[in-house]
């Protein structure tokens, strides 16, 4: 009996292969987008880490001379021979192949594993080629384009390196930089042997510096990844609408089968078990396809095809995308859960179906006024949940708010469309127009799920796009603000700082001391910075809130700037007083945004800092110059400042932005994919409806409308519905972005990103959604235009 029942159930899919394909494709796409987003997140985080490592070797403690000078190579050998596991680094700016590079010389034999970020083929000649002259310089491929190899070291390109940095052997670096026997600093390796003598006994004058803390980039991107994850979840939800539609249709069409099987004695429980087993198999198959597809998506979006191959063949190489078992489990799991969620309603209906129920398939969700009222009630309930969540606050509540708002928007779509179409029908005068509106309204229940999917996809696009765009604009502005100087230098001691000021006086446009002290302000750990009286700050330092004469106040010592974090924690506003160490009570003159820093920050005038806090460290300067490279060269060659004490922030900025651009490209592609899924949902709905709608269309045809006219009307209807949905999605998307920016970011990170609107993006999105709906309607419309008149005639014979 079980076998026969299973055969009867499965025969449905044999007869309706397109439905099967719809189900599997919908589920696979949903799983694929989810898995892809996860992989991209993981990969992006890894590349930030590599970037941070490349920019600062932040992962390792280092040993350097306390006075900032060079370490003699003999000291390195002496430390090694005493048992200290250290690895030498020599870095400085160098002219290689006609371009200025930050050259990092290291010893491949003693450097820690994964010292060199990125991946790719090594140069020719193996280690011998790397360590013996002329040697090799490893750079990012973008950097290599600027270099012309002529007689010097071989240029080897590797993916994942920061631009403007070249890695080479320490011996080659000593030659290229003409610093024989010199080392900038030593990396202190983990796993030091037992019984080493003290560092001071072997190498007096050296000191250990702990690894740097997590970088600003990583902190900033946390909020971005959180949002990207939410976006992946939304894509998944959109995909589930297809599954819901396909499962619902299949169950409705099999009602006669269910009834017959039950009548023949198949227990309800076994029928349900069989149906669940059927769905489970589909979920597993589609999940497997989805995970593979998600991997393909992730790999295609990240320019790293080589990593894909390595991943598929099981070699786990650090820093590359790899297909891990946990992926499979997560992907299959989410596919099964998604199928369960999408099919729960249908299964529930089967479980409650009376044995002698009418077996005819209903158009599966003919919506009554009553159903609409019920749906309206659900919308109100969702909005109530959203309001409650907004009142509670906190990260989980914010996500609840987000979800409730989206569900409310999706549920209210059919109601709003119903009302709008009713209004249009009342305004219509010509008979065909009147029929058009009435018929659209009648079709709405069948299309509403697909349109809800479209609404979700569109509003997610608008919302996430707005958030990402705002984030990017803000971040760019923040970088500009923070990296206002062209070259940053650090003096090795205060005497050198004074000599630097004298030396640089006529060589730069401005010398901006960046002096600060660490302190506790209002109980929070804080940094107090002094700024020089230079017009570049008022020009480049955008303030969130400020008194009218903010900079005058700051420089007169009658006001201080505080960062947004401190403002939010203490509820401060311009005009309030804040007590700085001393104690010094000073009014808040302005508030500035500070993305990427969780600590409180206060900015006061430089002379206030030096007079009130004479202990402030006076080593760092920002320099304004038109020729940072030339200035860095003369500082190094003429003044003798080590290259590690100079940071060319232009390359740091370029790199930070390139990391973000890469991730934004991913978002763009995900937008298109989500829309494609929604378009697919519309296509499946329209195709399903097309077969059911012949009884409605045949009379209109008989009254004199040609099939071509009917097809055009169908196409127009799809476009009109898509346009309406887009218009409704616009406020939802903006609301979504507002929630993301004003609740989730604030709860997670303590800063509020300003929202920027991008109407041109919306225009594109609107056109794209029309295109998707148009393409989806084209096939059913063409089919209608070519339906043989005999088929339409037969409607009258069969149905009446």
């Amino acid at each position: 009996m079980t076998r026969a029942a299973l055969g009867a159930l499965l025969s449905h899919w044999r007869r309706k292969p397109f439905q099967l394909v719809t189900l599997l494709v919908g589920l696979a796409l949903a799983t694929a987008l989810w898995s892809g987003v996860q992989a991209i997140n993981a990969e992006a985080r890894a590349s930030y880490d590599r970037a941070a490592a490349a920019l600062g070797e932040t992962r390792f403690a280092r040993i350097a001379r306390a006075d900032g000078g060079m370490i003699a190579q003999e000291t390195y050998v002496a430390l090694r021979r005493a048992g200290w596991l250290v690895s030498p680094i020599l870095e400085d700016r160098a002219e290689i192949g006609g371009a200025s590079l930050r050259l990092v010389g290291f010893d491949p034999l003693t450097a820690p594993p994964s010292f060199l970020p990125g991946s790719g083929p090594g140069g020719a000649g193996g280690l011998a080629g790397f360590i013996t002259p002329p040697g090799q310089v490893i750079v990012a491929s973008g950097t290599a384009e600027d270099l012309s190899p002529e007689g010097g070291p071989e240029i080897v390109t590797v993916e994942g390196l920061a631009p403007g940095i070249g890695f080479t052997d320490i011996g080659i670096a000593q030659r290229l930089l003409q610093r024989p026997g010199q080392i900038s600093h030593l990396i202190l390796l983990p796993g030091q042997p037992m019984g080493r003598p003290d560092l001071q006994d072997i190498a007096p004058g050296l000191e250990i510096r702990p690894p740097a803390q997590s970088s600003d980039i990583a902190r900033l991107t946390d909020s971005f990844h959180l949002n990207l994850t939410a976006f992946g979840l939304l894509s998944f939800a959109v995909g589930l609408f297809i599954v819901h539609g396909a499962v619902g249709l299949a169950f409705e069409q099999r009602r006669p089968v269910f009834r017959t099987l039950r009548a023949l004695g198949l227990p309800l429980r076994r029928l349900l078990v069989l149906l669940v087993a059927e769905l489970l198999i589909f979920a597993l198959i589609a999940g497997a396809i989805g995970v593979s597809l998600g991997y393909v998506i992730a790999a295609a979006l990240l320019p790293d095809v080589a990593a894909t191959l390595r991943g598929l063949y099981g070699a786990s190489v650090e820093g590359t995308l790899s297909l891990r078992p946990s992926w499979w489990i997560a992907g299959l799991g989410i596919s099964v859960i998604g199928t369960g969620a999408a099919a729960a309603q249908s299964l529930w209906k089967v479980a409650r179906m009376p044995l002698l129920a009418p077996a005819r398939a209903r158009a599966w969700a003919l919506q009554s006024e009553r159903a609409l009222w019920a749906q309206g009630g659900a919308v109100v309930a969702c909005l109530a949940v959203a309001a409650g969540a907004a009142a509670i606050g906190g990260l989980v509540a914010s996500f609840t708010l987000l979800g409730a708002l989206l569900i409310a928007a999706a549920l209210s779509l059919p109601i709003l469309l119903h009302l709008l179409l009713g209004l249009a029908a009342r305004l219509a005068r010509a008979p065909v127009t009147e029929w058009f509106w009435a018929d659209t309204r009648q079709q709405l229940p069948g299309l509403s799920l697909a349109l809800m999917a479209l609404l979700l996809a569109l509003s997610a696009n608008i919302g996430v796009g707005t958030m990402v765009g705002s984030f990017r604009l803000t971040f760019t502005g923040w970088l500009d603000q923070r990296l206002v100087s062209d070259l940053y230098i650090t003096a090795r001691d205060e005497a050198e700082g004074q000599r630097l000021e004298a030396y640089l006086a006529d060589k730069t446009d401005a010398i901006l001391p960046i002096w600060s002290i660490k302190a506790r302000v209002a109980g929070w750990p804080a940094e107090i910075y002094g700024v020089a009286d230079n017009p570049i700050y008022p020009r480049n330092w955008p303030l969130l809130e400020a008194a009218p004469d903010v900079w005058e106040q700051v420089h007169a010592g009658t006001g201080a700037l505080i960062n947004e974090q401190l403002m939010r924690r203490e509820g401060l506003a311009p005009g309030d007083r804040i007590t700085l160490p001393g104690p010094w009570s000073v009014p808040v003159a302005g508030i500035y945004s500070d993305y990427g820093n969780s600590d409180a920050q206060i900015v006061i005038a430089l002379d206030q800092l030096t007079s009130r806090y004479p202990e402030a460290e006076r080593l760092d300067y920002g320099l304004l110059t038109d020729d940072p490279a030339g200035l860095a060269r003369s500082l190094r060659d003429d003044f003798g400042l080590p290259a590690e004490n100079m940071v060319d922030q232009a390359s740091l900025k370029a790199f930070s932005l390139s990391v973000f651009e890469r991730t934004f490209a991913v978002t763009g592609a995900l937008n298109v994919l989500t829309l494609a899924i929604a378009g697919f949902a519309i296509l499946t709905s329209l195709l399903t409806l097309a077969t059911m709608r012949q009884p409605q269309l045949a009379p209109v045809w008989a009254l004199g409308l040609t099939r071509a006219q009917l097809a055009r009307i169908e196409l127009g209807r799809a476009l009109m519905l898509a346009a309406l949905t887009f218009v409704l999605a616009l406020p939802v998307g903006i609301l979504l972005a507002w929630v993301l920016l004003n609740f989730i970011n604030v709860d997670a990170f303590g800063w509020r990103l300003p929202m920027w609107l991008f109407p041109r993006d919306w225009l594109w999105l609107g056109l794209l959604s029309l295109l998707a709906a148009g393409l989806a309607a084209l096939w059913p419309a063409r089919r209608l235009a070519r339906t043989p008149p005999a088929d339409l005639l037969r409607i009258f014979a069969n149905e009446r």
Binding site: Y76, R81, I131, P193
Partner: protein, 350 residues
């Protein structure tokens, strides 16, 4: 790119030779080749031979602790020339590369550590008079002329040892007066041993220091291509037999499933008798699963000419050297027609 990986790629040819790993194929072009009947020139031959591609100073010791337990240690220094023609470059561009391996084995624990160093800068080197070999703080230093009296030390995060060695027998040339043939093709190396060290010293383990005494065996070997292309790995035995005799034997595994064996029987007075291919028979009796591989840890060794038929078994099956080029190396116990202790090294088990 992982710098370790880079190292692995480059070291590969040398490690393949040194350890008998698969995929040799590198030719000796430009490097000196061993010749028969050259004889040794001491103390100069205790030092490095940079004209040859590879070379090692390889010490193993079977020890007994004051706690009554058996221990074994290994101290190894490898030299590899990435390119021929070493004019004694004294900076980073020297093509000489050094690798040190240290191991410590007890019945229940096994430790290993590894060091790498560039030649030319002093981080690793071997001097002749007085003799001294070092990489970082690991060293093997003579307390007088020659290598009769040595101090050997190594340290790592979780173990260390410092041992005093003194020889009570002569140096022993292996093969034909130190010319040790490694295949039917005639590839060969220069090879001599000092198997007569008596040892005393201290092992430092995570639970504290252990005073030890015992016997040690030093192997010195250098060549430019000791293995044939069709040899995939080797099993090497050094046995300290009760009664004072020593036996060195190795089995080179070949791709066609056959083996090339060689052995040297050493009398208590140090006089060696070499046995060419086919005399020594080494048969695995049992394997253990170590680091995901099946490695033979119990063997039958037969040398009928000397009436030797013994079974050797590992003190600790898990004596896996988890280094960049992993291999098995650990102390063994001998039973059968003879008894005693020794060391076993096995490479190329993938």
């Amino acid at each position: 790119m992982n710098a370790r990986l880079l190292v692995a790629l480059i070291w590969f040819p040398c490690a393949a030779l040194a350890q008998g790993f698969a995929g040799l194929g590198s030719d000796a072009e430009g490097f000196a080749l061993p010749k028969p009947d050259k004889g040794f020139d001491f103390p100069a031959d205790h030092g490095a031979h940079p004209d040859y591609r590879i070379e090692w100073w390889y010490l193993t010791a079977n020890l007994t602790g004051a706690d009554g337990r058996d221990y074994g240690i290994q101290w190894t220094l490898f030299r590899s020339a990435l390119r021929p023609g070493d004019p004694g470059i004294k900076d980073w561009s020297s093509p000489q590369i050094w690798m040190g391996n240290a191991g410590l084995t007890s019945p229940g624990r096994h430790f290993s550590a590894q060091r790498f160093a560039r030649g030319g800068i002093g981080q690793a080197a071997v001097t002749v008079a007085p003799f001294g070999a070092h990489i970082d703080d690991w060293h093997m230093t003579a307390n007088g002329p020659g290598i009769d009296s040595l101090e050997v030390a190594a340290s790592s995060e979780d173990f260390a040892y410092r041992l005093q060695l003194s020889a009570d027998g002569p140096l022993v040339p292996q093969g034909q007066d130190g010319y040790s043939v490694k295949s039917a093709d005639g590839t060969a190396s220069y090879y001599y041993s000092q198997p007569f060290y008596l040892v005393g010293g201290t092992l430092t383990l995570p639970d504290g220091d252990v005073q030890v005494t015992g016997q040690a065996w030093l192997d010195r070997e250098w060549s430019s291509q000791p293995l044939s292309d069709d040899q995939t790995g080797w099993d090497w035995f050094s046995l300290h037999l009760e009664g004072g005799q020593k036996l060195m034997g190795f089995r080179l595994r070949q791709t066609d499933g056959t083996h090339y064996t060689s052995a040297t029987w050493i009398e208590p007075d140090g006089s060696p008798t070499p046995y060419g291919d086919g005399h020594l028979s080494a048969t695995p009796l049992a394997t253990a699963s170590v680091a995901g591989r099946e490695v033979p840890v119990r063997w039958r060794l037969e040398l009928p000419e000397r009436g030797l038929d013994v079974e050797v078994s590992a003190l600790n099956d898990g004596a896996w050297m988890d280094t960049v080029f992993p291999y098995w190396e650990g102390p063994i116990m001998i039973t059968g027609t003879h008894s005693g202790r020794g060391y076993l090294e096995m490479t190329g088990y993938e």
